[in-house]
Symmetry: D2
Subunit: 347 residues, 4 copies
């Protein structure tokens, strides 16, 4: 059985496990005040080009979205997101659980279109009934999106300008940020993210860590008493060293970028193999997630030897599935898939 099910099916990059082992018996204070968290923050500040950045480590993606959004919004505000955004669909209502509406915009291939965002905000502020409505208090984007697509630098800047003209923060969910930054089709670097966004997170769970996401407030603009609110959300790790050591390792010698590049190279190879096998692509994705349309019988046969994710029904006889590469993907597995696909076609 080979697996392209997701980018979180393996453990952690070996260097991370080594570091956990090496530092294991040191006595370190809890709750994020350990020396590894400090060191990791310093390295991330440098990588972002924002020496003033305030950085916090949380455990997982949904948790991070809920904590960041809830603590940055006023009670009367909601967060604008694409209808297909992770917070809109696949977080079990974690944002609403904290009392805030997700204001859903129709997007294109998972992305918010700057012009539509502007129209939405303009319409809101011209609406005579706006005092009876949820104020748009933040814009949420994911990069890469849930469909693997990427914003161009120009788009990011436009979104940033629109947000700032309405005086609301732009928040970027970077659960797979590494895979976005290392795409061969992007003009967006980590420093660009840091300069366009008011807050974002650098995903660890899907990019080589056991767990962990690094929240970055590039301007040092985190909410007051953030740690207390993190605890209130049940999101404060006693052994903060666990995320500290991991991010310290990821941001040493560019490990985060190197392993992300590997996933992108594997995705390139995967794409080739899929194309060669005549697969129909559901959409074009420049990152580590690839979406293809399979005939249902073919899907069933393949499922016996390959794991991938069900995405959505395409029509009565076809299904969209997702294949993901990651820092851990082995070239040999892609070649094996290639064989299976040709066997499959022959049948």
């Amino acid at each position: 059985m080979i697996s392209f099910e997701s980018d979180y099916t393996e453990g952690a990059h070996e260097k991370i496990l080594d570091a956990l082992l090496r530092t294991n018996r040191e006595s370190q204070p809890g709750y994020g005040s350990d020396s590894y968290s400090e060191s990791a923050k310093e390295k991330i500040r440098r990588a972002c080009g924002t020496p003033e950045a305030e950085i916090h480590f949380l455990v997982g993606g949904t948790q991070t979205n809920a904590v960041v959004i809830d603590t940055m919004l006023q009670p009367y505000e909601g967060v604008v997101a694409a209808k297909t955004g992770h917070i809109s669909t696949h977080e079990a209502g974690a944002i609403e659980f904290t009392g805030h509406k997700v204001l859903e915009l129709d997007g294109v291939h998972g992305k918010i279109v700057p012009e539509r965002l502007n129209d939405f905000l303009e319409a809101f502020h011209q609406d005579g009934n706006r005092e009876h409505m949820v104020y748009p208090g933040m814009v949420y984007i994911s990069h890469p999106t849930e469909y693997g697509t990427l914003y161009s630098l120009e788009e990011l800047k436009q979104l940033s300008d629109i947000c700032h003209s309405y005086n609301i923060p732009l928040y970027l969910d970077g659960a797979r940020l590494g895979y976005g930054l290392m795409s061969s089709e992007t003009d967006v670097a980590l420093q660009d993210v840091a300069s366009c966004c008011d807050v974002f997170y650098i995903g660890g769970t899907k990019v080589g860590a056991l767990c962990g996401e690094a929240v970055v407030f590039p301007g040092g603009n985190g909410p007051m008493h953030f740690m207390t609110m993190v605890k209130q959300h049940g999101a404060l790790l006693a052994k903060g060293r666990l995320t500290g050591v991991q991010f310290d390792t990821l941001f040493t010698d560019d490990l985060y970028f190197k392993i992300s590049r590997h996933a992108i190279e594997m995705a390139g190879l995967l794409k080739e193999v899929l194309q060669k096998a005549g697969c129909r692509f559901f959409m074009d994705s420049p990152t580590n997630q690839q979406f293809i349309i399979l005939e249902d019988e073919e899907l069933e046969r393949l499922s016996k030897e390959v794991r991938f994710s069900f995405w959505e029904k395409y029509d009565d006889k076809h299904t969209v599935v997702r294949l993901a590469t990651s820092w851990a993907t082995k070239e040999e597995d892609i070649y094996r898939l290639s064989e299976l696909l040709s066997d499959n076609r022959e049948k």
Copy 2:
């Protein structure tokens, strides 16, 4: 100045004020255990044809929606509503404030289309990721809708059947229920509402009361400890007699229906007058709210002598406005409007 701004710009029907005056000095226990609340409940049970119904009086519409929805949903559930539904747009996020997502469906003229509801529920229950999603735990409709439109009895039954096949309650927001029931274009009676819905409310605020909405659980199926949760939501009136006396009056000698019919007759007259004046209708509404498209200059001129509600921009030069009649509308005001419209056109 004449006003068609809304159906809550006047006080209360005189019979209600009389009743408040007449019963004023009686000593009555608080929190809804007064004899008038009891009597009102009994009369409403009779009018609904549901002798087992459990009934509670709350103060206003948004409050009622928040209390009913929050207390009937499980924490992991959200409520399905039309995108234009009151809870989706104009309740300042009161539903999300209680921790629940409003799952928005595209509607038609403010109504949920049964087939689309069915597709939505079916897709949810077939989705392999549904454990990471908000469960649809209730369906919310308004009748009349926010656009004054009405469900047919056939549609209500379909919605009811769909809900019950998925084992979730159907909830009807009847803020303007009287105006819906007395429309000349409806085949839905109060008893039909009671037999199709698992919970609904009979609006008082917009139909002749100073305040108050009557929540009806036709099958006696209210949540346990409902009163405690009403208090927890800050929605429990100390002097429950205030809503008790009002609903007791509204449901004596069919007052609720008679004053609703008056509004509908006035809406008929208003429609005629608007048509005669050559006004363009934004949509056809069979109830007390009428929507027309005015040229912006005309709108400005008229605004000096008539109050109505801004609805939305139609295009660069036109605006949709709403004119509402109510139990309190005077025939003479409609004739005055007729004059103003012809004056206006002549200019």
Copy 3:
């Protein structure tokens, strides 16, 4: 049957009903923007001696506490209250429902002791673990308290100074404020309340209105977008005139104070009658609530002709009950109670 059960068993003062009747057919805009609300606010500003005050009308006491406390606290903050405070015990957890802890202090006769408050705040700010704790973000007092007792002006000033030295607001729950201000044993006037507190409310429901509480931010210091948050809490009246007209009447010709004085005079008479009948007082109360200890058999006999409130078990054979007077109390009822008490004793 005569009733001393509570101060909300009758309707409203007749002048209020008159005013509702007189203004009934005027067309007035909704949501608190009617002219009566404006006029009432102006009169309250004058009575408080705070021309800059921001004032809002809400419907009931628990609602008001929840809205004020939730909108003024930061998410990481809780509200300090006496263990016997209304928000601590008898609001069904409405404060916690909004996400905030009630930090309970042992009080004396329902009051917070300034020195203990200071110790509590000092200890919190010296606690090395305070980042893992709920920040005290507001102090809540009731005046009169739930036991009918009153703060002296000196005590109010001390509490105010302590709060301000810790930079947190002092909030006074004035559900029965009129009865406190008109007590013969107080040196606290309405202007003192306004100058010592950062926010307070003037209770209507228990002092002659059908419903309604006036929230006063003496320094014009209400939270931004307060109206939107009121709506979010389900607390916004469509017909704001209902509370507007009532408070406009209560603050015309000192009606609020005059009817409160009546209740206090009746309480004085009641106290005399109870003393003469040899009743044992549970505690000394200078306002409209009187607490006596009845032998259980006596209680049972009296209950057949008098309504009062169970307060708590005193011991195996005795019970504490509360008798309340109000704006509506009739002298003859007190004389009737006197007769019943002497009959009772003779048996």
Copy 4:
């Protein structure tokens, strides 16, 4: 520098790191459906003697308390806890954040006294105003408590009986459960915990894991859709293997119990050393946390070479500090402390 600051200052037991390393490159499905989580659950079921138990792994203690309590309570219910309980004081209001009140009881040495619990519940159910109050819907105890004390089996049974006579669950916070079970002064075994409690958790973070707590519903009585609610709370790990592998290791060959016993032995040695040095104990603790009263000057001198936790001020010149042993404590560090203490005394 030697450290007795807490039981979470080191990483993880080496066997856990070995297991993470050994299983690292296996492809495992996410969200707790990996084979290690399954295996760990089976081992825990066996250790508890409850083959039907439902088990879930969460990340940290406050998170676990919030998720368990919120998902098991009805909205109108609160949780009863000792005033000194972790949820009452040191979780930043995480329980109230989910909308529930913590009903605080005065305890003795951190423990709830069964008789007082019974009185509290009885009084609540006899209170005529209980519909306006928060219903006690669960009892929370910690074992060991925040003061290191333990319930006897007899006490546990009494608490269990009281809860069940009122039909509410008993919940045991076992953040340090291992240290309680291995105390030489306890008659409570893991099976007893499982038979007395309706839900409890076995703490990993403080007993040898990097992170992780195992929630046990001994009767298979977990709430429906628990996983969705865990996600809603932001508490669902993508790589569930992280907690799965750790608990699988801890419950292989009694590792959990063996490392807990080590901590208890070290605590015994520590106690001896402290007694020999003439230290005054704040209270007697039979587990891994020891509380002593230090003169402030002595405290300052010691602090230069030993880390411990500030607990509370004892009086003007003395402070209570806590010293904790753990699975990771080294005998040599205790001897070093012994030397420091005698040096200290000589000065």
